[in-house]
Structures are given as structure tokens and as C-alpha cells.
């Protein structure tokens, strides 16, 4: 049976210190929850740089290519003489190509972010905690999954209370 150890901290600074401490002790698959982004948290959790940029690069290249090819195909397949220009006048394609590139980049950013964050998530055992509702306005939480290497409930409990956790809760996942 899986379980999650949820600890609440008083303020973002304490949460940052806690994340640093856990990283230093070698834990890696824990997560922190706060109502707003905390500067320096990436470094404290020793997170790698996000891969989102590369996803957006793929999306934008695809949009660029698709936009340009679409217009080329259209103007050659259904030729119209527009102000005496040749059918394949690529300068005229650039604004639309650019717009489609932006559209595809935006889509790949949003949906890439969803995919990387494993959203939408309809069930997560952490939702069982009443305390956790505070995470959307004034609560700062740290959750450690029992899948973590070297998970030991009592040891972690001690560690967390050492680093000034306000409240510690064990959430059991019976699914």
C-alpha cells in the first residue's frame, strides 16, 4: 500500500529550507506545493532545466513548415493573379507563416506543459487531506511518496519535525 507523508510549513522560506534539506539527504521524488512560484525552489530541489523549450521548438518548426507549405500548395493548386506577382511569391507568405508558427508554438507550450505536469489529474491521494486545501491560498506543503528510495516513515517524521514542520500527516492510498 502506498502512502504519502505530507508536511505543512509556515512560510515559503521554511519550505525552501526543507526542500534543500531533503535534497541534501538524497531524496528526489518528493514535491512541494505552494500558492505561488517560489524563487530559488528549482535549485533547492535540484531540478533539471525544463524540457518544455524543446517541445515548443518542435511545435514551432512544424507550424513554420506547415504554414509555408499550405500557402505554397494553395497558390499553385488554385492559381490567382494578385497584383501581377508570380504565383509563388514567398514574401507574401511570411506574415501568415509567422502567425501559424506562433499558434503552433502556443499550443505546444500549453499542451506540453500539461503533459510534463501529468495534467489533468483527476485523482491524487493528497486530495484526501483537509489541510491540503490551504495550498491554493496560504499553505506551503511538502509531500513525500512512499515509492521514494529509502522511505522510512519514522525517520522522515523526525527529519521533518527537525526542520520545523508545522504539521505532519500520513495519507494512505488504498487504491
Amino acid at each position: 500500500m502506498n502512502e504519502i507523508l505530507l508536511a505543512e510549513f509556515e512560510n515559503p522560506n521554511k519550505l525552501l529550507k526543507a526542500a534543500e534539506k531533503l535534497s541534501d539527504c538524497g531524496y528526489s521524488s518528493y514535491d512541494v506545493y505552494s500558492p505561488f512560484p517560489i524563487h530559488g525552489m528549482d535549485d533547492a530541489m535540484k531540478l533539471k532545466h525544463s524540457k518544455l523549450g524543446w517541445i515548443v521548438l518542435c511545435g514551432c518548426s512544424l507550424g513554420l513548415l506547415l504554414g509555408f507549405l499550405m500557402q505554397t500548395f494553395m497558390s499553385l493548386d488554385y492559381p490567382l493573379i494578385i497584383s501581377g506577382k508570380p504565383f509563388f511569391s514567398y514574401p507574401a507568405f511570411i506574415p501568415v507563416t509567422f502567425e501559424i508558427m506562433v499558434l503552433f508554438s502556443a499550443f505546444s507550450t500549453v499542451f506540453g506543459m500539461f503533459a510534463l505536469n501529468k495534467l489533468p489529474q483527476h485523482y491524487n491521494p493528497i486530495f484526501k487531506s483537509d489541510y491540503f486545501r490551504k495550498a491554493t491560498c496560504h499553505g506551503f506543503f511538502l509531500g513525500i511518496d512512499s515509492n521514494e528510495n529509502g522511505y522510512d516513515r519514522e525517520k522522515l517524521r523526525n527529519l521533518l519535525s527537525e526542520i520545523d514542520a508545522k504539521h505532519i500527516e500520513v495519507i494512505e492510498d488504498d487504491v
Binding site: H39, G40, P91, A92, P95
Partner: protein, 401 residues
């Protein structure tokens, strides 16, 4: 988190750059002398000389004007991060009087440079007749003096107050500068637009482009940010400001360079696109000249080198933070800005194709050395950072997340 404080005395006024100043003035003097010898010895070159001079002149004028813009922008947005990188643009914009002196050769070359000064040609040309109220020598000189008056007024105003704050540390000065930056910005926008029209666009007096002022402006801000970044790297190499101007500041300068590079491309494309689409003979004349002979290759070089290469190879965060790479890219963009001006100005005199002359190089090196000599001479007299700015601590502790 530990707050960084201002320590050490490497920012203080001292005679740091006297050896480099001497070298710059010597080299500048030699190369300027060579250029003038070429000018007087070869009557064939003297016509071309003025166009080459104008190209180099515009390169440094745009740099100085861009520096004014950077300073105004930082005050108008009340920017905190940029306090430690404000002194170099401030000293760069102090070169406006030098640019006014360097304008004198253009006065002598008016007849060679500007077709509309030939009154006999104007008399037969209806279009130029119509434009005569604006394009006549008397009004031209009045305007030039007026532009330089405005620019030197703005630069003096902001430089003086910033230096005053170094001594007194009065916070009111910052507020005053923020207030006056608003109308200074408007004056700056108008003067740079009309100066671009007068100095560069009137080389081809039949042609007009309503976006031309913005085109020159975008290039000037780009080059000013590039030089700011480069000069701080030079200071860093000389072991000044090592802990003060950090990678974070270079990263942000890199972002601005990248942004303004795209802005330049956007404006350049807009200008071309509308003229190409509308196909009005008066307007297309300019671009036809640039698709002739070897100018086609310069046009392609501009598209690829000014837009494509920086767009792809300067996009990454890691590359902007790698200072050696950053410096290479910035030098490349500076070179491209010169090519851009060369591409605008030289086809008027060499319509058949590129014709790089020895005088192009000597003039550029000569004026560049004089310009930097005056720059370092002014930098010698001031602190390397605005040490009593109220936002200094914010700038010292600035980090990109």
C-alpha cells in the same frame, strides 16, 4: 539570503585608462590622416570618400543615439536591475559633441552626397521641386543644429545629474530624472526619426519610406546594447567590476540584444514587404537598386546574417550566459549593423555592385579609435557605476530565475 554590498575601490575615479587612451588617439590620428591623404591625392576617390565617411559616421551616430535611448529607457521604466550597467551608455551618449564636430566633413561633401543640393537638377525635376521647402540646404543645416542641440541637451542633462548623485546620493535626483525622461523620450523619438530622414533617406530624394526612422532607430538601439555589453566585457577583462556586473546582467543585456535584433528584422521586413506589395514606382526604386549586381548578395547576407544567425544561435539561455560566446555573437551583430548601413548608403554611389575601397577601412578604424578614445577619456573622469543610486542594491543582487 546574503545581500551583496558594494565593496572594493576599483570603481573609484582614478587614471585607469590613460595608456589605452593614448594608444587609441595615436592609431585614430594615423588612420584619419591616411584617409585624408587618400582623399586629397586621388580625385577619383574623393566623391566616394564622402559616402564611405557617411557610413562610418552613421555607425557611430546611431551608437551614440542608441545610448541615449538606453539611459532614457532605464529611467522611464524605473528599472532596478540595470543600475550597474548604466554608466557606459551614459558615457557613450556624452560623445554627442564629438559627433557634431565629425559632422563638418559632411558639410563640405553636401554637394557630393545629396542630389537635391544640385539646384539645376532640381529645377527640372517636378518631384524635387515639390520637396524643396523641406529639402534645401539652409533649412537642412538649421535642422541638423537643432537635432544636435536637443541631443546634447538630453545627454548633458542626464549625465550631469547622474554624476551629481555619485557625490550627494540625493534620491530626489532619481525622481527628477524619471520625470524628465518622459518628455525627453518624445523629443528623442522625433529627432532621431527626422535625422534619419535627413541624413540617410534624402540620399535618394525621390524615394520615401514612412518607417525609415524606426528602421534606423531599431539598428541604433541594437548597436548601443551590443557596445554596452562589449565594453563591460572589456572592463571585466581589465579586472574591473568583476563581482558587480555579473553573468546575470550580461544575460539580460543579451535578451535585449536578441529582442532588438528581432525588432530590426521585423521593421526591415515591414518596410520591404509593403513596398514590394504596393509596387509604387517611386518606392520600389530603392529596392531595385539593392537587387542589382553583387548587391543581391549583400541583401541575402543581411537577411541571413543580421536576422537568421543571431536568431538561431543567440536564442539559448546558456549561450547568452557564456561570456566568450556572447562576445563573439555581439561582435558579429555590430559587423552586421555596419553592413546594414553600408547596404543603405553605398548603392547610391556604386549602383553596379559592391566596391570595397581601402578608404572604407582606414576611415572606420580612424573614427572608431577617436570615438573610443573620447569615450575612455570621459570614463576616466567618473565612477564606473552610479555608486549612490537608490536602486543599486537591487541591481547588485539581481538574479534571473
Amino acid at each position: 539570503m546574503k545581500q551583496k554590498q558594494l565593496v572594493g575601490n576599483d570603481i573609484e575615479i582614478s587614471d585607469k585608462f590613460s595608456s589605452i587612451i593614448r594608444k587609441l588617439f595615436i592609431v585614430g590620428g594615423i588612420f584619419s590622416a591616411i584617409s585624408f591623404i587618400i582623399f586629397f591625392s586621388d580625385s577619383h576617390v574623393s566623391h566616394y570618400f564622402y559616402f564611405s565617411y557617411l557610413t562610418t559616421y552613421m555607425f557611430f551616430l546611431t551608437l551614440t543615439l542608441g545610448a541615449i535611448f538606453i539611459v532614457l529607457l532605464q529611467h522611464i521604466t524605473c528599472a532596478g536591475w540595470s543600475v550597474v550597467v548604466r554608466r557606459v551608455p551614459e558615457v557613450l551618449m556624452k560623445n554627442i559633441p564629438l559627433m557634431f564636430i565629425l559632422f563638418i566633413p559632411i558639410v563640405f561633401g553636401m554637394h557630393d552626397l545629396y542630389h537635391w543640393t544640385h539646384l539645376d537638377a532640381v529645377a527640372e525635376d517636378h518631384l524635387l521641386q515639390v520637396k524643396r521647402p523641406w529639402l534645401n540646404q539652409f533649412f537642412f543645416f538649421i535642422r541638423i543644429v537643432f537635432y544636435f542641440f536637443i541631443w546634447s541637451w538630453i545627454s548633458k542633462n542626464f549625465f550631469k545629474r547622474s554624476i551629481l548623485q555619485d557625490e550627494t546620493g540625493d534620491h530626489q535626483i532619481t525622481l527628477d530624472m524619471e520625470r524628465s525622461s518622459s518628455y525627453s523620450m518624445i523629443l528623442f523619438a522625433l529627432t532621431i526619426t527626422f535625422a534619419a530622414i535627413d541624413l540617410v533617406m534624402s540620399l535618394t530624394p525621390h524615394w520615401y519610406s514612412t518607417i525609415f526612422g524606426v528602421y534606423i532607430f531599431s539598428g541604433s538601439v541594437l548597436i548601443a546594447y551590443c557596445f554596452t555589453s562589449l565594453l563591460y566585457m572589456y572592463l571585466r577583462k581589465k579586472n574591473y567590476l568583476k563581482d558587480i556586473v555579473t553573468v546575470e546582467h550580461y544575460h539580460d543585456l543579451g535578451k535585449l540584444i536578441y529582442g532588438f535584433n528581432i525588432f530590426w528584422s521585423y521593421i526591415a521586413f515591414c518596410q520591404f514587404f509593403l513596398i514590394w506589395y504596393a509596387s509604387v514606382p517611386e518606392e520600389t526604386e530603392f529596392y531595385l537598386k539593392h537587387f542589382e549586381g553583387s548587391w543581391t548578395y549583400v541583401t541575402i547576407l543581411l537577411c541571413v546574417g543580421h536576422f537568421g544567425i543571431p536568431f538561431i544561435f543567440f536564442i539559448s539561455r546558456w549561450l547568452k550566459r557564456n561570456l566568450k560566446y556572447h562576445a563573439c555573437m555581439v561582435i558579429w551583430i555590430c559587423f552586421m549593423h555596419f553592413v546594414d548601413l553600408y547596404w543603405i548608403i553605398i548603392p547610391t554611389v556604386a549602383p553596379n555592385g559592391i566596391d570595397i575601397h581601402f578608404v572604407d577601412i582606414t576611415l572606420f578604424v580612424g573614427i572608431a579609435c577617436l570615438y573610443l578614445g573620447v569615450f575612455f577619456k570621459n570614463l576616466n573622469k567618473v565612477c564606473l557605476i552610479p555608486k549612490k543610486d537608490p536602486r543599486l542594491s537591487e541591481s547588485l543582487n539581481f538574479i534571473n530565475y
